[in-house]
Symmetry: C2
Subunit: 260 residues, 2 copies
């Protein structure tokens, strides 16, 4: 798909890397990469074969879309200098938990493009299966954001800032916290010289099950059986790991609460 | 595969249901089902088209293998009456965290067959991708257990009782606790009228990632970025859910600890 819109990437982290690569493949012209970290900027710019800058004042002023993909704390600070001298462009951030209104005092045309996915630099993303949530300051901006998102995935939904905040928090549980459970499992196995690979069929089936059962129906294990025997044995085994022991206890309690 | 060994199922829960069906399909003769809960016993027995009993003294005495799949707390209690008058048979339990030695004061030939998987009655199990861990009182018993397991899956490993306990605890984290993270995510979305289905691509990718990255490398989200802004916003949103708020805080801390 070809189009004549020029996109600048502000940020060069995981999200910027994957979205930048995805958008370029989809036919968008990536004009430039900005990151205050020179190594990151240069890395992504060379993958895309485009120029990079490390100071906002050097960012070109004639692009159509400025896609801002930085830490939430940096976003607010960056907004005035990103918008200045570029007032005609469309300004977009990708953060799940930042309201669209962060733009309103500075920009005229703005929006949010939130890809709900876990991006790691080391791993390619299949955008076709990623859900995108969009919100914009007006009809024209919304249509531009939708065409941006639809060039990557058929799963594009409108969501308000409030809805997006909840989607993001829910994603922290379903993805980030679930992954940490894998990480604790790996840690416990490594301590015993046992291979984490043995867990993979179980991890896959746990994920597959919730395609057809509600997670609360899919729950198995000692907590949902209220098998105090097993839980106490595990807590004893975690005696030298107070943080993990607390997590074990608290999650088990929460499982019992939710299922009773 | 045909063979002339007769197997009795002691228990009619999720594990018994799936193993019973799997073993029968693999050519083993299921002689009888026992459960003290008449409805469960009758349910499983009718699926297998075999007789059932609800009292241990009515369990046949001439089977070759007694496969005991009951709650850990019930197992110890049940052992003497299961073994009595059946001393020549092979006695097997399937519990990850029960040592093989629970049999030693009563039985002569015994072992453990631990399928590391999450079994829900509503869902068929693809045994070919399940890891089985076996342990037995002697070489002959071990070979019998291996042939039982190998008739279901190529992934059959020997593991000591101590190793199995750690595998089981690690599975509680990677499977039961990960699923509870899905369940909390679903709960938070439902409260806002948002569909849990939107999380499925994310859940799938989170599971797929740890096939190629170590979980600790695959970690993303506000905690690993130490993005206090986002974490505080989420904690505020959980103000009316103290249990979830504690879980959010504790897991985030644990992610930061593990990654620093």
């Amino acid at each position: 798909m070809a189009n004549n819109k020029r996109v600048v990437l502000i940020g060069a982290g995981n999200v910027a890397t994957h979205l930048g690569i995805g958008l370029q493949k989809a036919g968008w012209e990536i004009a430039q990469v900005y990151s205050r970290t020179s190594a990151s900027a240069s890395d992504l710019a060379s993958r895309l074969e485009v120029p990079f800058v490390t100071s906002i004042k050097d960012v070109c002023t004639d692009a159509d879309i400025y896609l801002v993909m930085v830490k939430d704390a940096a976003l607010q600070e960056l907004i005035p200098s990103v918008v200045k001298s570029r007032e005609k462009a469309l300004f977009v951030h990708t953060a799940g938990s930042m309201p669209m209104d962060v733009w309103k005092d500075n920009a005229r045309r703005y929006g949010v493009l939130y890809p709900m996915q876990t991006f790691s630099k080391q791993r390619a993303v299949d955008f076709a299966s990623v859900s995108f949530f969009v919100e914009a300051s007006g009809a024209e901006e919304l249509s531009m954001l939708k065409s941006l998102a639809l060039s990557l995935s058929p799963k594009v939904y409108e969501a308000t800032s409030a809805q997006r905040t909840y989607l993001h928090m829910a994603a922290v549980f379903a993805c980030n916290f679930a992954n940490h459970m894998y990480a604790l499992s790996a840690y416990l196995l490594e301590k015993q010289g046992l291979p984490f690979d043995a867990m993979l069929p179980l991890i896959d089936e746990t994920a597959r099950k919730v395609h057809t059962l509600r997670p609360v129906e899919a729950q198995t294990g000692p907590a949902v059986r209220e098998d105090a025997n097993v839980m106490n044995k595990h807590l004893d085994m975690l005696a030298d790991e107070p943080e993990l022991k607390n997590i074990y206890e608290m999650i088990s309690k929460s499982i019992i609460t939710q299922n009773s």
